[in-house]
């Protein structure tokens, strides 16, 4: 059973804090993504886990053993981990089979066992016919498979991936993502995956840690991250959202013209997030909409409309208020410009978030 714990990791470069108080715990076989914009410290964190970087503060523990602290780190080669690099880092002077067998050779396995196991792994990634080729003769996708095979061949305790798909074109990217997920399911290796692509992180991970400027903003399962973002940054980074300002008092959030009960909110100014997908539109005649428990109705007009092929993206101006919202509607739901509509929102979908 593998258990990886990062405890209050900090990395300073001169006066600059690249990673700030990173704490997380990975369960055995868990697939966790570090997600955040460029320069937020994902690679720094991953390389601290790998042992290439000594933390300024904090510690890393693997199966109860401290492997990193400011006092020293267990060398990368002694950590029982493996890694897939952004550049693939396939050794150009070795054949595919030699690349994949390298880690096993380092473990001093007998040659015949190495051969057998390399054959099996190459079978899994469908590269057995290329075993004796050199990397320069492979396509980008094939190189990526070699990197994947090399990383799983040693059955590491932890596998680390640093934006492994960013050098691939769009089609291959999806294919390789599926491949990585399949390998994870098959071998159950505890995995930390770095990406700045939220859809990639959502599709592949058990949990996602959203990082901003070196700090973890939120760690959650993908759906919860989408449905219940805790901070403004998380809400905006995971898909699109509407942010509305208001204030909170006595378990209620008050916005311009409507109020929503909310158990968790603190009193004072409040910011709330509503996903465009949670705004249901219907044509507004003279009649009132049907009342339902916990559903909010707001009168609005279509202010802008963009057809995105699979759905509509409507910009809505609320009647009598200086507020505008965006809604995502199915392709069949066509409204003209300036058409009067009702917006219906489940109150529980209006999520208070932290952050200015």
């Amino acid at each position: 059973m593998t258990k990886l714990i990062l405890d209050g990791l900090v990395k300073d470069y001169g006066g600059f804090r690249a990673a700030d108080n990173i704490s997380l715990t990975l369960a055995d076989g868990e697939f966790l993504s570090l997600l955040g914009p460029s320069g937020c410290g994902k690679t720094t964190t991953l390389r601290m886990i790998a042992g290439f970087i000594t933390p300024t503060q904090g510690r890393i523990e693997l199966d109860g053993r401290e492997i990193s602290s400011p006092k020293g780190v267990v060398a990368p080669e002694n950590r029982d981990m493996s890694m897939i690099f952004q550049s693939y880092a396939i050794w150009p002077n070795m054949t595919v089979a030699q690349n994949v067998g390298f880690g096993l050779r380092m473990k001093k396995l007998p040659a015949d066992q190495i051969k057998k196991r390399v054959g099996e792994i190459l079978g899994v990634v469908q590269l057995d016919h290329l075993a004796e080729r050199y990397p320069s003769e492979l396509s980008g996708g094939q190189q990526q498979r070699v990197a994947l095979a090399r990383a799983v061949a040693v059955q590491p305790k932890v596998m680390l991936l640093d934006e492994p798909l960013s050098n691939l074109d769009a089609n291959l990217r999806e294919e390789m993502r599926t491949e990585i997920k399949r390998m994870h399911v098959e071998f159950g290796i505890t995995t930390v995956y770095v990406t700045h692509d939220q859809s990639e992180a959502m599709a592949i991970s058990d949990r996602v840690a959203v990082i901003k400027a070196g700090r973890i903003e939120q760690i959650d399962e993908p759906y919860r991250l989408y449905a219940r973002p805790r901070t403004r940054f998380a809400a905006e980074f995971i898909g699109r959202t509407n942010l509305i300002e208001g204030h909170a008092k006595a378990g209620e959030m008050h916005f311009e013209g409507f109020s929503v009960p909310s158990a968790e909110v603190r009193s004072g100014g409040v910011l709330a997030s509503v996903r465009p997908q949670n705004l249901k539109l219907s044509l507004r005649g003279n009649d009132k909409p049907e009342r339902a428990e916990g559903v909010l109705h707001l009168a609005a007009r279509i202010d802008e409309r963009i057809f995105l092929g699979e759905r509509w993206d409507y910009g809505l101006a609320l009647e009598g208020r200086a507020m505008s919202l965006r809604a995502a509607a199915p392709a069949e739901q066509v409204f003209d410009m300036d058409a009067p509509v009702w917006i219906s929102i489940q109150e529980s979908r209006i999520i208070p978030v932290e952050g200015a």
Partner: protein, 572 residues
């Protein structure tokens, strides 16, 4: 497929932490660099400032040197020599470089051959060739002149400052050629075309646009030629000593005549080192500025039409090739098969005895040839390994203050070979090392002298390598050393081979660094050449030279085959 996950038993094999040998290796490396660079060079400073009897601090050595007009004259001759050499080599190289880089003149690729030939011709062999060609009495040019005109006075005399400068220029002009072509290659023709549109003809454009743009690089090369010339020992020893004028390097050797005055030799060397440091610094500044001037990125170039002038340029290139390579090599080859060198190579004058003598009879020559190859092999190998390791440590910042190692590795460029030889003599010849006359002292000196070349080339190779390749080794269970041995070195195989071949070739002909360090047991071909030339034994000498030329050219040819045509002529 789940069975694969179970073909397991891997995790229980989890390793004991391995000992990281790399730290030991890097520590050793630092110690070696200090021993090879800091220790001998510090002797230069220490001995030049100390009293030979008491060992106490003094500046008297410098006064002793400065008081003797003969010593000052040597420096004056050296400066004259260097200036004349620079002018001559620019005149040789610049037109050729321009032709190769900018024009459509047919046959210009032959110029590469001429330059490469001059580059691989050992300087002392070129000098011997020219002694045979242009010696005042029996030299071939003068013999032919006399027989044609009946005039007894020689037409040319190589034993003069002009002759010496000429011979040196024929050997060093490739430096200017290399720098000038690589600068000219960077200038886009758009700049030239811009001038042409405003009414300047092609020749005028070249004068006012092209050459000024390449000027920093050319000036940089000129400084290198200047430095080469003032540091050169072999050619002056062969030509200036019989011509009875002294230059700084030949004067230096007189301090070693009995009783040896090392402290004076050291004091006398200090200006050579200072000039070298100043000029190298200036050269770096120039080249830094130069890159800005020639960074014309739209670097498409169209060859310039030269019209009728092309015959002139072609003739110039052919003449330089003839003078630098074909004539001296030809006379060496023909002499090596002759009984008497000054007589015509008619059938009765031809023989294979010279070769039999050097290969089977004369033990001194055989030993010198063996030593030359042995020292070159050992030095090239050690130099490449050392340069590679140092560059790796420096580029990957593996130990604290690793940039200090970089400084150590390039520091020997500041010391002319003959001065380095004195330093090594002072540092290792006597007790406690007592290495005088051994193979080791020469190999160590060669390693030190050529470490900068190896280091710089290796560093640029390593810099081009993605560090993730090494990190991948480590995260998959290999140590740093393993990353170096199994990935970095194999991936850089070609550039390492290039370094090795380059160092091998220059070691095989190095003379000045071996001076003062050789006794009868560890002589090399270059040193033996001096002795044999003094004895007038030109036939055997020529045979030995031809063997060296064949070995060198073979190695270079192999290198070109493996690494591409221009691997020797690339500007580092």
């Amino acid at each position: 497929m789940t069975d694969i996950a179970n073909v397991n038993g891997l995790r229980p094999l989890a390793r004991r932490p391995k000992f990281d040998w790399s730290l030991v290796v890097f520590g050793l490396l630092t110690a070696i660099l200090v021993g090879l660079v800091v220790y001998p060079m510090s002797r230069l400073l220490i001995e030049s400032f100390s009293d030979p009897k008491t060992g106490s601090f003094t500046v008297a050595n410098f006064f002793d040197v400065a008081r003797r007009s003969r010593y000052l004259l040597a420096y004056w001759h050296t400066v004259q020599l260097a200036v004349v050499t620079v002018i001559m080599s620019v005149a040789m190289a610049l037109p050729m470089a321009w032709v190769v880089s900018r024009t459509d003149i047919p046959g210009r690729s032959l110029f590469y051959f001429g330059t490469l030939g001059a580059f691989i011709m050992p300087p002392f062999l070129g000098a011997i060739g020219w002694i045979l060609l242009a010696g005042p009495n029996a030299g071939w040019i003068n013999q032919i002149w006399t027989s044609l005109t009946g005039i007894e006075d020689p037409l040319v005399n190589i034993f003069s400052l002009w002759g010496l400068a000429f011979v040196i220029a024929l050997n060093v002009f490739p430096l200017i050629f290399i720098f000038a072509t690589s600068a000219l290659d960077l200038i886009s023709s758009e700049m030239e075309e811009a001038a042409a549109i405003h009414g300047a003809g092609p020749m005028r454009t070249t004068w006012i646009i092209t050459l000024p743009l390449a000027l920093p690089a050319i000036l940089g090369a000129i400084m290198l030629v200047f430095l080469e010339t003032i540091a050169l020992y072999g050619t002056p020893a062969l030509i200036a000593i019989p011509a009875r004028f002294n230059v700084a390097t030949t004067q230096l050797t007189t301090f070693f005549e009995y009783p040896a005055k090392i402290e004076l030799a050291m004091a006398f060397s200090v200006p050579l080192v200072l000039i070298t440091i100043v000029l190298l610094g200036a050269q770096r500044l120039l080249l830094r500025g130069g890159h800005v001037a020639v960074s014309g990125k739209g670097g498409a170039r169209t060859a310039m039409r030269v019209g009728r002038w092309k015959w002139l340029f072609l003739a110039h290139g052919v003449a330089v090739t003839l003078l630098a390579v074909i004539l001296p090599a030809g006379i060496l080859v023909s002499t090596s098969f002759q009984i008497a060198w000054a007589k015509a190579p008619v059938l009765s004058n031809l023989t294979l005895d010279n070769y039999r003598a050097i290969l089977f009879e004369q033990a001194t020559v055989r030993e010198a040839m063996f030593n030359t190859v042995y020292f070159a092999l050992a030095s090239a190998t050690a130099c490449t390994v050392l340069g590679f390791l140092t560059a790796y440590v420096v580029i990957r910042k593996l130990i604290p203050y690793s940039s200090a190692l970089a400084f150590l590795a390039v520091a020997p460029v500041a010391v002319p070979g003959i001065v380095l030889a004195i330093c090594f003599y002072a540092a290792f010849a006597g007790p406690p090392f007592s290495l005088y006359g051994s193979s080791l002292i020469i190999i160590l000196a060669f390693i030190t002298r050529f470490l900068p070349i190896a280091f710089v080339s290796c560093a640029s190779g390593i810099r081009s390598l993605n560090p993730e390749l090494e990190e991948a080794v480590r995260i998959h269970g290999g140590s740093r050393m393993r990353a170096m041995v199994e990935v970095v070195a194999p991936v850089l195989k070609k550039s390492l081979m290039g370094v090795w071949i380059l160092v091998f070739v220059i070691c095989s002909r190095e003379l000045s660094t071996a001076m003062f360090l050789t006794s009868h047991q560890n002589r090399v071909i270059s040193i033996l050449t001096l002795d044999m030339s003094e004895q007038g034994d030109y036939e055997t000498l020529a045979a030995m030279g031809v063997v060296l030329l064949v070995v060198t050219s073979t190695v270079v040819a192999i290198g070109m085959r493996l690494l591409g045509r221009d691997f020797m002529l690339r500007r580092n």
